[in-house]
Amino acid sequence: MQDEEISPTQAAIVLELQNVSKVFPGVIANDHVNFTLRQGEIHTILGENGAGKSTLMNVIAGLYPPDGGDIFIDKKKVRFTNPRQAILHGIGMVHQHFMLVRNHTVTENIILGTPQPPVLDLKRVNQVIQELGDKYGLTVSPDKKIQELSVGEQQRVEILKVLYRGAKILILDEPTAVLTPQESEALYKIIENMVAEEHSIIFISHKMKEVISLSDRITVLSRGKVLATLDKEKTNAKELAKIMMGDEAVRAMPVSASSHSKAMEVVVRMEKICADDDRGHQALKDIDLEIRSGQIVGLAGVSGNGQAQLAEVLSGIRAITAGNYYYCGESLQHPTVNDMIIRGLGYIPEDRKKFGIAGHLSIANNFLLRDHKNPDFYNQQFLSAHKVNEYGRVKMEEFDIRAASEKMQVGLLSGGNIQKTILARESSRPLKFLLASQPIRGLDVNATAFIQQTILKAKSEGLAVLLITEDLDELFLMSDHIYVICRGEIVGHMPKKEASTERIGLMMTGMKT
């Protein structure tokens, strides 16, 4: 629409897309996309989930052949039919879902698929990797297995992987979505190092703050189309949000935490709770936690520090090995999942696709889960498909679940719509306690706002809410009181007004303040 003029003083164009289209059955994922990347530039692609960003990147990286249009690298036309050809042309992609072999070492992962002598010379390769790491500030130990690494370290391996292959153009697909604030800062530094070495970066994100601070240019994508390409200097967050979402931007502004009306009675109280993980190792150690009605307690922590086990204990999935769990004053020894449901627990699990829905069932049938005894769904003794679908349609309307019909498989929906489906189901019963684990991870701005508003509304209706999150923006926006967990222990808690990003970030790494 408003493509900027390219002034002759600017660096050479290393990658150009002309009218690139990609069609999946029933969806136009990319619609005549034009895009340029200059040498040493950080060019951000901004857009909601389902806007076609990942598809476009997969086309550039050779995973999907385009259905139309041309791709030029260094002014030469190319046509990739597989990823290896893209790699040979210097394009490397760091995927949102890491493409790593968890059981293998860092070195094995980096050299996989690269030309190597028939008998491996790991000593030499380790040295090369070490040097590469030092050059860009990507420190990792080559002999460690991926499963021993933190998420941030795994990402560094991913970046090393593409650098080792000699990539000049790096595609980073939502790289900060899974990182702690400190890890994100480290990544920004690494990106700057790479640009200094004349690499060009395509950066995908929908975190407005980092988009503005990091990018040279920003391209906004919506429903597969490029809406605008803007210079950073000539735009701001508000304008970008407006372009991205049109009129919806207004609606997407998160509501401020309203004051709670009902009396603050203690709903959940944990006293010195201990629990083991699946392998029998202690995962939770002497957890003390209190959640009152009309209150949102935020639990911050780097993922894998016991949050999953804590959520399972609270929802009756995991047995406790020591301590006391009080629920509305009642001491629960070994509650079952059903006990907790009867007592008014709503649960938004962290892995929403695996534990939140039955992906192959329809949206309407997913509302039936957990509420299958509800007489409203029955004709005499028999389930009525008509009533179930009718209910599904009503809920879809109410929760703004965007899908062709209530009979569509839930697993095919976008993350935001899946989350709305779960929320619609969980809040259909009278609740006392809402347990939300990473409720907005990977969701776009609109879905995030909707989910957050719903949770805030629940709070104002007097529910006790536990919000488990790694996203500090969300933590501060939503919480009244903040707990920090590290290695299965609560390392501290404080009212929100006493908390700061630095303090929480440090505590997440285990430092008590």
Binding site: L63, I87, M99, N103, H104, L112, P118, V119, L120, R279
Partner: protein, 314 residues
């Protein structure tokens, strides 16, 4: 005729290696296949096909080497069915493997029927100069037939290829994370086909060992369930060739002991003795699995048994 305790031990030892060798070949074949991510439950059937092929070729042409090669070749061909069904057509690997066992059992029974009563000459033991003179271990390990020596070689070769070469890294990666290999341009199907077929050929060699060394005649269902032990041994061995050797000889010893006790006339019910290797299988698998869960280090190829679909949207 009285024999001393040491002599008895050596005799059981020799027998343990012989009984363990087909298990070893089979397990190695399974290790190769499963490292690339494809379970092969067709082992029992493939062993029978290999056994029958070797027996027929040996009977007809009298060439031992041709017999073993043909056994490998035919078993490799039959495994290709499993490869096509489970890799290209992406059908359930368990079902396809079981079908292969049923098919192989039936096929060998059908063509073996008229061979009952025929015999071939067993392979000679060839002592390795020097080594075979080592007390106790010498006669057990180094006064054996050529196929035993070949199995030693295979253990070392497969270990080296899997863990020290680029090819091995690729194979293991395909078994762990095919989507990763696909994204960097390795052909998942190519590696899986190669591993399943080479693995099948080794399983065929395992089968050949029965008529050529252990029995020298053909009976219906000659391998008597040893293929299933090999399936379990792959897990027992943590998909590692060296541990496959240990496991195969442990079970070989169990079988040898069973036969030894029988010939000594010790009054243990024969049904119990026949059960023994399988009870051991269950016990060992239980122990291994518990230990595995405790340590948390999963050594099972992460994508074992899963068909690979490219371009599945996350």
């Amino acid at each position: 005729m009285e024999i001393t305790g040491i002599e008895w031990f050596v005799l059981i030892g020799i027998s343990a290696i012989k009984m363990g060798t087909p298990l070893l070949f089979g397990t190695l074949g399974g290790v190769i296949s499963e490292r690339s991510g494809v379970i092969n439950l067709g082992m029992e059937g493939l062993m029978l096909v290999g056994a029958l092929t070797a027996f027929v070729v040996d009977l007809r042409f009298g060439s031992k080497i041709t017999a073993v090669c043909m056994a490998a070749l035919v078993a490799g061909l039959v495994t290709t069915i499993h490869a096509v069904v489970s890799i290209t057509l992406r059908a359930n690997q368990i079902a396809s493997g079981l079908a292969l066992t049923l098919f192989g059992t039936g096929l060998s029974g059908l063509f073996g029927d008229r061979l009952i009563g025929e015999t071939v000459v067993s392979l000679n033991n060839i002592p390795i100069p020097g080594f075979s003179a080592i007390p106790i271990l010498g006669p057990i390990f180094f006064n054996q037939d050529i196929m035993v020596y070949f199995s030693y070689f295979c253990v070392v070769l497969i270990w080296f290829v899997l863990f020290k070469t680029t090819l091995g890294l690729n194979i293991r990666s395909v078994g762990e994370a095919p989507e990763v290999c696909d994204a960097i341009g390795l052909s998942v199907a190519k590696y899986r086909y190669a591993c399943v077929i080479v693995g099948g050929m080794l399983i065929g060699v395992a089968g050949a060992y029965f008529p050529m060394v252990l029995t020298s005649f053909w009976v219906d269902n000659l391998t008597a369930g040893r293929g299933w032990i090999a399936v379990a041994l792959v897990i027992f061995a943590f998909w590692h060739p060296g541990k496959a050797l240990l496991g195969a000889y442990l079970f070989g010893a169990a079988i040898a002991l069973q036969l030894g006790l029988q010939t000594m006339g010790i009054a243990v019910p024969s049904y119990f003795l026949e059960m023994f290797p399988y009870i051991l299988t269950i016990a060992v698998l239980t122990a291994v699995t518990i230990r595995n869960q405790k340590s948390g280090a999963s050594v099972m190829p992460a994508s074992l048994g899963l068909a690979f679909f490219r371009g599945e949207k996350h």
